[in-house]
């Protein structure tokens, strides 16, 4: 199976082609330019460099959220356009889980941290057991103290990664009561090859949708909706 994967959920823009356990190409950029200007030119470069015939692609895997609202939509709209034109399905891959997939095989508690602004992180807790990603705590938007409490409660060694690590380093060092590592540069950010690998597993479990159906999972309402809910006393986020 050949998968085209995209991740534009955070500061990183990443595109990859993965086929039969081989990453044919991966292009990852962590720079200021907007994803709108980088994502498709990167994919075009991959196509030229690897003489890729787009009609051989079976599915599009996309980091479907959480993440930057605009970044998620650039990725989603790109995936939806590709899926429509190539008539292939979209595999929605949870962003935090695919971040965790960077640390394949680790039996520590894997805790991806994405800066979600408003004093929150997009995070979750994962580990690997018998070569499979196990979700301990599903992805969510919370204050960092809440997720660190959960790690302390599990009481196992932990490893952190993601762009939230440097933002919250002080609180992380202060509040974490278990031994922990911070993942190095080679595997501490979003990578489309991880989205593809995890995507293939999800696909085989029947988790995919049509290009028309696909929409990001924001994990948060818009500010206007939050304020409106607060006024009317309803809602939670």
């Amino acid at each position: 199976m050949k998968i085209l994967a995209l991740d534009s959920s955070g500061l990183v823009a990443s595109a990859a082609i993965v086929a039969e356990d081989v990453t044919i190409a991966e292009y990852t950029v962590n720079h200021k330019k907007t994803h709108s200007q980088t994502l498709l030119p990167m994919l075009d470069e991959i196509r030229r460099m690897t003489e890729l015939d787009l009609s051989t692609i079976d599915a599009i895997a996309i980091a479907c959220g959480p993440g930057s609202f605009t970044g998620l939509r650039i990725g989603a709209a790109t995936a939806k356009g590709l899926g429509f034109a190539l008539n292939i399905p979209i595999i929605p891959v949870p962003t935090v889980a695919s971040l965790a997939y960077n640390l394949y095989g680790s039996e520590k508690i894997i805790c991806p941290l994405m800066d979600a602004r408003r004093n929150q992180v997009y995070t979750g807790l994962y580990t690997f057991k018998d070569g499979e990603l196990v979700t301990i705590e599903p992805q969510c938007a919370v204050d960092i103290a809440q997720i660190l409490d959960k790690i302390n409660a599990v009481g196992k060694e932990a490893v952190f990664l993601g762009d939230g690590v440097c933002v919250y380093k002080e609180r992380l060092e202060e509040l974490t009561q278990v031994p922990f590592d911070i993942a190095p540069a080679c595997c501490n950010r979003q990578r489309a090859a991880c989205v593809a690998s995890l995507g293939e597993i999800l696909y085989r479990k029947g988790i995919f949708e049509s290009a028309a159906q696909h929409a990001p999972e924001y994990l948060r309402l818009s500010q206007a909706e939050r304020e409106r809910n607060q006024k009317s006393g309803g809602g939670c986020l």
Binding site: T38, L54, A77, F84, A85, L86
Partner: protein
């Protein structure tokens, strides 16, 4: 069967609160024009909420494109090129259409044409007026724009004037809110005005020194609010229909005066209006009368082509395609894009 030389444009528009796609043949013939409106979603907020608009665009974009092709009886293979609005507008909203259009072009190898939203509104006039050709003067009036433009040739524009503050449609929305009509204000004021006296209240007609084609509507809006406040203070009951009619007349007077002055100065026999406010019945009637008096041919699109739609982007995209305009895969949304710039 399409003739070999037929140019079919698939057009996509998502600059504000309508998700739209259309198929247009040779710039003037609309084969389909699909609009998914979000008005109901935003009404409770009294105006367009950008994040909510963007979220709805992403949910609707493929459905609207597929429906446009289906209604036109075409497949993606039949399409010559894809045109998409890349500015001006809400950046998050624009990005949905731009990203989808780029991906479709990338996957199919079709040419991509970034289109200016206002260029689309102006080009809406070509669809129903087969005889209309440049040069002419066009007044673009909508919720976000008030531009007086000389259309020198297809795709070549000169901006004579624009608003210094509120767009005309924005003023309609704000006044509608003040007299309790709600959003969207334009059609509601238009309707209520028919029951009111346009000369009942004297509201100001703003002129800008040294820039006779520029507009200003914030002073007028304030005058209406002041009038409402002072009536309340004095305990005088307000006739909302008179307020609506008098306000609308003040807007129309300025638009007509500026626009027809430009037509005269440039010596053209043709004048067109475009944009959401161009479907205002009193505005149309005023231009109809004044143009007839001066023996000027007056053009306007039907209401469905005045509102944000993709058929107009297909019309503009066709003329850009013929000029050789092509956009790259790095095409970005440009929220403040100026007309005539690339």
């Amino acid at each position: 069967m399409d003739k070999r030389e037929d140019v079919l444009i698939l057009a996509i528009e998502s600059s504000c609160d309508e998700t739209a796609a259309a198929v247009v043949r040779n710039g003037r013939e609309v084969l389909s024009n699909i609009i998914s409106s979000q008005i109901a979603l935003h009404t409770v907020y009294g105006g367009v909420v950008p994040e909510i608009a963007s979220r709805r665009h992403i949910e609707k974009i493929n459905q609207v494109i597929e429906e446009a092709l289906e209604k036109a009886g075409k497949t993606l293979e039949d399409i010559t090129a894809i045109a998409v609005t890349y500015g001006p507008g809400l950046v998050g909203a624009l990005l949905v259409g731009v990203s989808a259009a780029k991906a479709i072009c990338f996957a199919t190898g079709k040419p991509l044409i970034g289109v200016h939203h206002i260029e689309g509104h102006i080009s809406a006039n070509f669809i129903e007026n087969k005889d209309l050709e440049p040069p002419f003067v066009c007044l673009v009036v909508s919720g976000g724009h008030t531009h007086l433009v000389v259309v020198k040739d297809y795709g070549t524009y000169g901006i004579l004037g624009c608003t210094r503050d509120d767009a005309a449609g924005e003023a309609f929305d704000k006044v509608a809110r003040a007299i309790g009509l709600g959003y969207p204000g334009g059609p509601k004021i238009d309707k209520l005005s028919k029951e009111g006296n346009p000369d009942a209240i004297s509201f100001p007609r703003a002129k800008i020194d040294g820039a006779s084609y520029d507009f200003s509507f914030s002073g007028l809006k304030s005058a209406v609010l002041n009038y409402l406040n002072s009536c309340e203070m004095k305990g005088i009951s307000v006739n909302n229909a008179d307020v609506a009619a008098s306000f609308q007349k003040a807007v129309i007077d300025v638009l007509v005066e500026h626009a027809l002055h430009a037509v005269k100065e440039y010596g053209f026999q043709k004048f067109a209006i475009a944009g959401g406010v161009a479907s205002n019945s009193s505005l149309r009637a005023a231009f109809e009368t004044e143009c007839a008096k001066r023996k000027i041919d007056f053009y306007y699109p039907s209401p469905v082509l005045c509102t944000d739609n993709a058929a107009m982007i297909g019309a503009a995209g066709y003329y850009e395609y013929q000029k050789g305009t092509r956009s790259g895969y790095d095409l970005n949304a440009v929220p403040n894009l100026k007309l005539g710039e690339r």
